[in-house]
């Protein structure tokens, strides 16, 4: 339900980048306060609602060994009170005015949001400003909440075979970059985090000059700026810790891991590091890699055509490129074999398709199809005010101009089939790959056998009087 990690999947990255904020938004919709807080307002007057999002430019990429998961833990603690809004009161206050609130943490950012009636704008801004500066939680609340976070890890990672596979893949692709650590944190690190670790994190990173306020919906920009000045204006700017590049060294050869967990269906995941978007105007390789992923993935992609429908070696096969991040980008393929086909056959089939792009390139018809979908998705994206605010926050947190969101179709339109072929050749080499295989282990005795499926579960249950 709540306080949750946002995992923007690699497949979504292209669509995310392809969806618009207001076209050519007027300059008065952006303001930076003297204390460094950036404010972006996106007006949309279709319904009397608004979304407020506060994006902090701090995520798991800023963590260190031994304290993984800290960015996300602090996100949970941000609901544990200030002198004027006691623990638990934030969400209840928003709920009582008909609103919803929550938060999410990723590798790059920690963000908080409220979805409210437009008349409650000031309430949301006042409480967000308050917890930007005045968070003050008790040790006992930390002790309780860290248990909640461990339950979250069990629910979303430990007991999810595919999540375990993805976690292990990232931990192997990246050796020097912090992306090797999961956003939720290693369990052992969570067990040793302290309340003071969280307080230190808060004091280090939570400052107006490390944040962006995005307000979208049925609001007037001038009114948002007036209220933001009133509530955020008095907060003090603070020096921020240095951020180091932590660049990943070029892989020295293929890496291969096996993940053995209780499961029934094997899964193949392959990852290749590749350049993320840095200069939205001049870079071309990330856009070419976006197009490559789109040509391979989806209903009309080559994997569906060749692996799912044609050779029928995969029940599913997907590709994605995550390039909206401060560290290295990651190109991934994930596929599951049809029963009776081995992981080795599936891997060969996937690599055959990649080799085909490397050797023969892609057609301009395929690129045109992807572009048509991106342009349409840009219109569809305007239906969700929340999503538009998300895009603005995502870009701003990366230090990219948020206006770039609108320009993705034209950036993609410049990419040629030859450039797509070139990035496939340069980055998707076997020697640069990490191959991770989910090797399903039988559920232990007493648990359902992998194949107990005819009718209700048999021989496994005990009825007891209530």
């Amino acid at each position: 339900m709540s306080r949750s990690i946002l995992l923007v999947s690699a497949v979504c990255a292209l669509l995310l980048s392809g969806l618009p904020a207001a076209a050519a938004a007027p300059a008065e919709h952006t303001l930076t306060l003297p204390n460094g807080l950036r404010i972006v307002v996106h007006e949309d007057h279709r319904a009397p609602t608004a979304v407020v999002q506060v994006w902090y430019r701090v995520g798991s990429i800023d963590e260190s060994d031994g304290t993984s998961g800290l960015a996300h833990v602090l996100e949970h603690m941000m609901f544990k009170g200030t002198p004027s809004v006691p623990a638990g009161a934030f969400s209840k206050t928003i709920a009582r005015v008909g609103g919803r609130d929550n938060a999410f943490t990723g590798t790059e950012h920690t963000a908080y949001f409220e979805q409210i009636h437009r008349d409650q704008l000031e309430l949301a801004l006042r409480m967000e400003a308050d917890r930007m500066a005045n968070l003050s939680f008790r040790d006992s609340d930390f002790a309780s909440e860290i248990k909640v976070v461990m339950e979250e890890r069990r629910l979303r990672t430990d007991d999810q075979p595919r999540a375990m596979l993805d976690e292990q893949l990232a931990a192997t692709v990246f050796q020097s970059n912090p992306y090797r650590r999961p956003v939720v944190g290693w369990m052992d690190d969570l067990q040793h985090l302290t309340a003071n670790d969280a307080r230190d994190w808060y004091h280090r990173w939570y400052a107006p000059n490390n944040a962006c306020l995005v307000v979208a919906g049925d609001v007037q920009a001038a009114e948002v700026f007036r209220l933001a000045r009133r509530h955020f204006g008095p907060l003090a700017r603070r020096p921020l810790p240095p951020r180091r590049p932590q660049l990943e060294a070029e892989p020295l050869g293929a890496r291969r891991i096996v993940v053995k967990v209780p499961a029934t269906v094997p899964v193949l995941a392959i990852g290749w590091p590749a350049p993320a978007l840095r200069d939205a105007e001049r870079d071309w390789q990330p856009y070419a890699l976006d197009l490559l992923a789109a040509v391979l993935a989806g209903d009309t992609g080559r994997f569906a055509d060749q692996l799912v429908r044609g050779r029928q070696v995969a029940v599913s096969a997907d590709a994605g490129f995550d390039d909206l991040r401060r560290g290295p980008g990651l190109f991934t393929v994930e596929a599951a074999p049809v029963a009776g086909h081995s992981i080795a056959e599936l891997e060969q089939a996937v690599l055959d398709e990649i080799r085909r792009v490397q050797d023969q390139g892609v057609s301009s018809e395929e690129l045109a199809r992807v572009r048509t979908q991106v342009v349409a998705a840009q219109v569809y994206g305007r239906d969700s005010v929340f999503f538009q605010a998300m895009q603005i926050g995502t870009y701003d947190t990366l230090g990219l101009p948020w206006q770039e969101v609108d320009r993705v179709p034209e950036r993609l339109a410049r990419i040629t089939p030859e450039q797509v072929q070139e990035v496939a050749r340069r980055y998707l080499q076997p020697d640069r790959s990490t191959v991770a295989v989910l090797d399903p282990q039988p559920l232990p005795a007493g648990a359902p056998a992998p194949d107990p499926l005819a009718g209700p579960v048999r021989g496994l249950e005990n009825h007891h009087a209530p």
């Binding site: 009397p48 709920a95 609103g99 005819a454 579960v457």
Partner: protein, 449 residues
Amino acid sequence: MRRDACALVLPLALAALLALPASAAPAAPVLQQWTTSQGSHVLFIEEHALPMIDVEIDFHAGSAYDPPGKEGLAALVIDNLNDGTPQHDEQALARAFADAGAQLAGQADADRASLTLRTLSSAAQREPALDLLCELLHAPTFPQPAFERERTRSLSGLREALAQPDGLADQAFYPRMFPGHGYGRQPGEASLQAIARDDLALFWSTRYRAAGAVISLVGDLDRTAAQALAERLSAALPAGAAPDPLPPQSQPMVPGRIDIAHPAEQAHLLLGLPGFAFGDPDYVALMVANYVLGGGGFSSRLTEEVREKRGLVYNVNSQFVPQAQPGAFEISLQTRRDQAAQALALVRKVLDDFVAHGPTAAELKAAQQNLAGGFPLRLDSNRKLLAFAAMMGFYHLPDDWMQAYPRAIRTLTLAQVRDAVRRRLHPDQLLTVVVAGSPAADAPAGAVQ
């Protein structure tokens, strides 16, 4: 895949109730309804702000209509609908939709099979997309190879789900919640294997008919164009009498406790009681009550007691699942396996207290403020309006429901809510499924050895 059936209201109605300044109020969406000449019910909201159109067609063709022994058929029909027409094969269809910039999706829940199309409204892109939609509504060919491939995929998905605690819990829970009824049917390997390609064609021709279908349209088209479009869609569908409605449940639920072993780190707990159907006189009172008990996130008692005070879970919630026939009331949570007994005892205590005493006056007020005050958020995009219209049409909600429902929330009294809770929730009848509980440490006294 259940839709959240929480209620919705038009912004204008709410604005009036709250006496908000009307000056800047955006024009409220207006819902128009009619019936096509072939007998499809149409709901239409005209919205010109964005150059796009959303279409949803709902059929009485959800999993509750799976023939016994062929569970999984309804889902296969909607999955295979776009696998071929006399004019296009599967790949050509997928490419043609993509080339039009359109997005087609299908899904089935217990009651409904739903097909949605999102398209740009310019004629150059709209017309090819709508032509394709009509084509696959009119004559899906369900080619044998695609069918076999999709069935293999379903089997794989089923195997994956039934290795997970959630899938195992559902498999045990629903047959006991709805014995002998369509809502209790769960697909299994044998039932999927028993389905043949011709079963899909037969199911489609009897349940995807114009009569009884509900067509919802939202977006950039006027009434005349909407009427023409609805006629076209309806005419494409098979003729014949409207399919039979779902019969009521004839056998009572089977209370008790079921334990299923599993090596997961967390135990998954699923608790159930009989719920209600759309149109139930206690609908509003029970929805409001559920907000207080476990539907209201951090404002709910379950989250407060189980998560906030004790850190036992990341997620605990309760919900009613209103459907065409009475659905279930469900509480679900996940906790480290050695805490399962403690968490279950606590949930039982919270539930028992709630049923015995009902909400407090302050809790009722907070629930009313959230559920009525939050309505505009449920209608602030075309996507949400579409889902709202489709639900209203499919479940025959009254025409004035958008106005009447928030009014009913606001005028509920404490006595009415307490009375409904006492009459409708009987914790002694609870069905409890625990997957991956640790049996040794897990037993409430006297319940489990």
